[in-house]
Symmetry: C2
């Protein structure tokens, strides 16, 4: 006979979220909880106290990641839930913290219902996911996955010149390398979508199949500065007009690509010398594009390389530099199916989707079976004080997380 899904205590989840929203809370309903600041440390202390109160064992590893573990009947690789407690400056009250607090709520619910899990259950708080104090983002999960070198991360400094290493030592959360998560039955990260899709489509749950691949280029167009009043149009090498034409052509070609899922952005644009009476002699802009299908990204790169075709016609030169790229990270297909089944069992509307943003799960996926659950972000807003996920959606996300854990335990 089919087991009836357990449900979390939605009121308690909300109260706990509200408690954490006070830690580093801003005047406009957001939070500022930069990694390893006193606000982040208070959030960690609060998290630790909550976990210890229900009999979990709390330990830190050498990157300051905090793991709270409920012993299992068997000494097997744990089921891990988690995300991060740090935030950007004037960020929202849901990004990251939801995945940690929902993990706590799942364990509280298991204990309340006297579920004796066969595997240990661990809740993890990854250090410095946002990278808002110490770049890069997802620093600690990056070190665990081998993506980043630990010694180089320890030397990263914040805007005041404080090193990550010094901040970590001062926090009291530097632990042993032996406490790193090295294996798991599953890593499950509940997170807000940070995009508008679920909200716009009126869906409750996103079953995240992957973190999309990405390419990022810098384009530099060089022309010639001259006096805006004395140089006839036909004798100009206007780098801004050349950039205008090239951007139009790039957009035209990119818009023909793919299945409507390609996103691309030219977010950083600088014009030189940037004086209204002087013809621009240089424009530098970035273009980054993301798609789950790497063949499409190769097409994007081919189109960008094509910028040089016909260059020089307007007298300008074009330099194309690849800044970086990352491959698509696919989550564990079995876990994705389990999450989908959980949403269905709970009667929640859902869809499979991709993550356009980076998350700790994209690094854990290289050494732990990993998957993510998304809940809606109202108007797609995130990394700002207006960030909002209705409490009922938070609870639905936590229920899917719980149901997925239960399914794995079954």
């Amino acid at each position: 006979m089919r087991r009836q899904p357990l449900l979390v205590n939605a009121g308690r989840l909300r109260e706990t979220l509200d408690t954490f929203a006070q830690i580093g809370g801003t005047d406009n309903n957001g939070v500022t909880r930069l990694a390893l600041t006193k606000e982040d440390i208070l959030a960690r202390d609060t998290f630790r106290a909550c976990c210890e109160e229900i009999g979990m064992t709390v330990e830190s590893d050498d990157m300051g990641n905090v793991c709270a573990t409920l012993a299992g009947v068997q000494d097997a690789p744990p089921i891990v839930m988690g995300s991060h407690l740090d935030s950007v400056k004037k960020g929202g009250r849901f990004d990251g913290v939801l995945g940690v607090i929902a993990g706590l709520e799942v364990v509280r619910t298991l204990i309340e219902h006297e579920v004796k899990p066969c595997f240990p259950i661990t809740i993890v708080n990854f250090t410095n996911e946002e990278g808002a104090r110490f770049e890069p983002s997802m620093m600690a999960s990056g070190v665990l996955s081998g993506k980043f070198e630990k010694s180089s991360m320890l030397n990263k400094t914040d805007s005041e010149g404080v090193s990550f290493e010094a901040a970590l030592k001062a926090s009291g959360y530097e632990g042993s390398i032996a406490n790193r998560i090295a294996e798991a039955t599953a890593y499950l990260e509940l997170h807000i979508e940070q995009g508008p899709c679920l909200d716009q489509e009126g869906l409750s749950i996103g079953v995240v199949e992957c973190v999309v691949g990405m390419v990022c280029y810098e384009i530099e167009i060089t022309g010639e500065s001259n006096h805006a009043g004395t140089t006839p149009m036909t004798m100009r090498k206007d780098a801004f007009f050349e950039a205008n034409d090239r951007v139009s052509e790039l957009r035209r070609q990119l818009d023909l690509l793919g299945d409507g899922e390609l996103v691309y952005t030219m977010g950083r644009v600088q014009v030189y010398p940037n004086i209204h009476t002087v013809i621009p002699n240089k424009v530098v802009f970035t273009i980054e594009a993301r798609h789950k299908n790497e063949d499409i990204l190769r097409e994007v790169e081919r189109i960008i390389a094509g910028l040089n075709n016909g260059a020089g016609d307007g007298g300008c030169t074009i330099r194309i530099s690849k800044l970086w790229s990352r491959n698509t990270v696919w989550f564990d297909p079995d876990l994705c199916s389990r999450i989908e089944q959980s949403a269905r069992a709970l009667g929640y509307s859902y869809r499979r989707m991709v993550s356009g943003a980076g998350h700790d799960a994209q690094f854990t996926a290289s050494f732990l079976p990993s998957a993510m659950i998304f809940v809606p972000s109202v108007n797609g807003k995130s990394h700002c004080e207006e960030e909002l996920t209705p409490y009922e959606d938070c609870a639905k996300g936590a229920n899917v997380l719980l149901e997925t854990v239960m399914a794995i335990l079954d």
Copy 2:
């Protein structure tokens, strides 16, 4: 019987230009002689000494403009020649100074040839034409013409906080308001073109008919910032893409206007927040356009106003602000004809043209019969150390100036 044209002493003109090029000379053959700095004062002292040496009377007015006058047989309004001795930072060796030194060479030649002019002959050095130390440019001629208010100009400060008034007093060149040029038989300004036309066309002399009118607008396009990875293309309000489309449309329409003489520039462009992973929420850019025909400028303004047609389709809003405009300043037609006749009499190639840049003559034109003579700028370069006008072209310009003065005296 037709008088044979007098010619200046080209070697002496060159030597004098070279002497002044040493004053504030830079390592790369340019000059830095910001208004009322010690370099500018040394240039003034040198100019004064040269003029006094040949029997001219040198006086300053209340804006520090220096007038050197050779008495005429009659006490009539003088024929005035001149320009400015100040330069921009790392400017060239010809801009401004040529018009003053050529005036000096004309007077030296008149004296050498024992010409007794019926009118007084005055050489003027206008203070702070460049506006590189104290904004605005053409400050002193602007005050004389009533375009700028003197008290407000005196309060202008340089980047160190020194006021124009303090710098003027310290220079020793503050004189009496009674010494202002109030009337003249003619004001003739020889200047480098600062554009590429004469050089490209292989012509020696430009007969300048006007300083073109100009309009300058600032366009602000506001969209919405969102995460570059999580926001589908169809849900974006990308201010940069909207700006890209609007700039293309503006260019398309402006390129259909007029007679090929319209110039327009979008020189200042700022994109916000200017982060490669964030969709731009604001783009601010300037557009300035210049043409002698004010009807064409009205068309330009109509096209710019049309930016708002269809605004909002892409979800962005557009704000259009007029920063300023100036009308076309037409020079004295009789003087233009005399200059043209002088070039022809000397057998120099020439053409009538407009000035796209501003000059003191555009302000004197409101109260003195004024005109300008242009000589070529190699590759149109100016306001930079590479600025170059071949000495033979400088001499040709001075000969046209001399011949025009002679024609007026005839």
